[in-house]
Amino acid sequence: MEHEQLEEAIAAFALGAIDDAPRVETERALLEHLAGCASCRELFTDLREVAADLALSAEPRAVPKAVEERLLEAIRERRPQAERPATRRSVLTRAGALAVAAAIVGLFAWNVQLSERVSDARSRSKQVVRALSLMGSTGARTASLDGGRGDLVFVYRKGEAVLVGHDLEAPPSGRVLQLWLMRSGAPTSVGVFRPSDGLVVFPVHADATGFDRVAITVEKGPRGAKAPTAAPVYSATITA
């Protein structure tokens, strides 16, 4: 896609008006482009804010008191979920080994689910939106991974990260790709995934700050390895 077309896609995206038929392709193109284009990330953030402000142009309406009462009644019995962006704050540094294992299993389950539902553009779209908005957020950095086929970008900021790639080669059957964060050569597993259709959008609930390298190895599925068993197929330097 040309730059102008990508900007048009950003405007359509902000309004929720991207066509369903090429939605996957359009979002993929947007993701790839935003990872490397600061001015489009800014446009993306601005236009999303503009779209939200459009709500104000509708005539405000008095909401029936009964609605408020029902709502306040409903929340009296439920606690909010403890789901601060803090769950993203630092799974790796804050929690023990057990929690890390649970997080990795969770990520794995999620990614398998994602692969199965990749044709379901709408549900996949939510993950893409998250990835896109991370890229558009303040303080996000990107690192391009060198290595095998296709393009892979690791976008990160304090508390969260996402791995985005396309045209990737799928690992052999029974094998998975495993993502590692390294500090002075010491690896910490972040999770495993398989590209779907050559595409990966892999949200990482871990804090990449304090690490100096991100690497991907091919490991035995479905859980991956405790430590890398082979040389990375992709890697990049990151800065805290």
Partner: protein, 198 residues
């Protein structure tokens, strides 16, 4: 520009308290934004009953998932309104699909157009008038793109079909409209944030 948005700082504090289970903070956010949120849903859905459902669903999810709000990605109100919009678009498109399946042509019940007496904080009124002025600064063709895509929940192909305007033109016109809105609104943010908040 968001940095100067004092109101949003207040909203964030409230949301922080909501995360801790503070009912009063939730009620305050509700009272501040429900009329706008409801107004948007009514305008998109053309009727009140469904709009009430969308409103309840979204505010309930805000109570449960206040912690998922991420200030680095925008203001509290844009987060809230975006959820109302997404949910309403879902409803519009689902209804549309059902209509197509049943081959029945139904015109959505028109919004009765009546104007409610709504008490709003002054900064919100000011912001509303800025947004309306910004929309007013668009050409009629540009405004139509925004109207159909945002308020009627149409995809760009549907906009092209509905208007007879070529898809390529729909896309470029929409981008031009959004840029113009951004530029028109950019100069007003600080003013709304600092001088007129209650």
């Amino acid at each position: 520009m968001r940095a100067a948005d004092l109101q949003d700082r207040k909203d964030r504090d409230l949301l922080e308290r909501v995360t801790a289970g503070d009912h009063a903070a939730f009620a305050e956010i509700y009272r501040r934004y429900a009329p706008t949120a409801f107004g948007l849903a009514v305008r998109m859905l053309g009727e009140r009953a469904m709009a009430e459902e969308v409103l309840q669903e979204v505010f309930l999810s805000i109570w449960r998932r206040a912690g998922a709000f991420d200030p680095a990605r925008g203001s509290v109100r844009s987060w809230l309104f975006a959820q109302i919009h997404h949910r309403s678009v879902d409803v519009v498109r689902r209804e549309e699909a059902e209509r197509r399946r049943s081959q029945v042509s139904v015109t959505p019940a028109a919004d009765d157009g009546s104007v409610d007496e709504v008490i709003e904080e002054s900064w919100l009124k000011a912001r509303r008038s800025h947004v309306r002025n910004a929309l007013g600064s668009l050409s009629a063709e540009q405004r139509q793109m925004i109207e159909l895509a945002y308020f009627q929940g149409m995809t760009q192909s549907q906009v092209a079909r509905a208007t007879g305007v070529p898809l390529g033109t729909v896309k470029s016109r929409t981008l031009a409209a959004m840029r113009r809105l951004r530029d028109a609104l950019a100069g007003t943010m600080m003013e709304d944030g600092w001088s007129t908040s209650s």
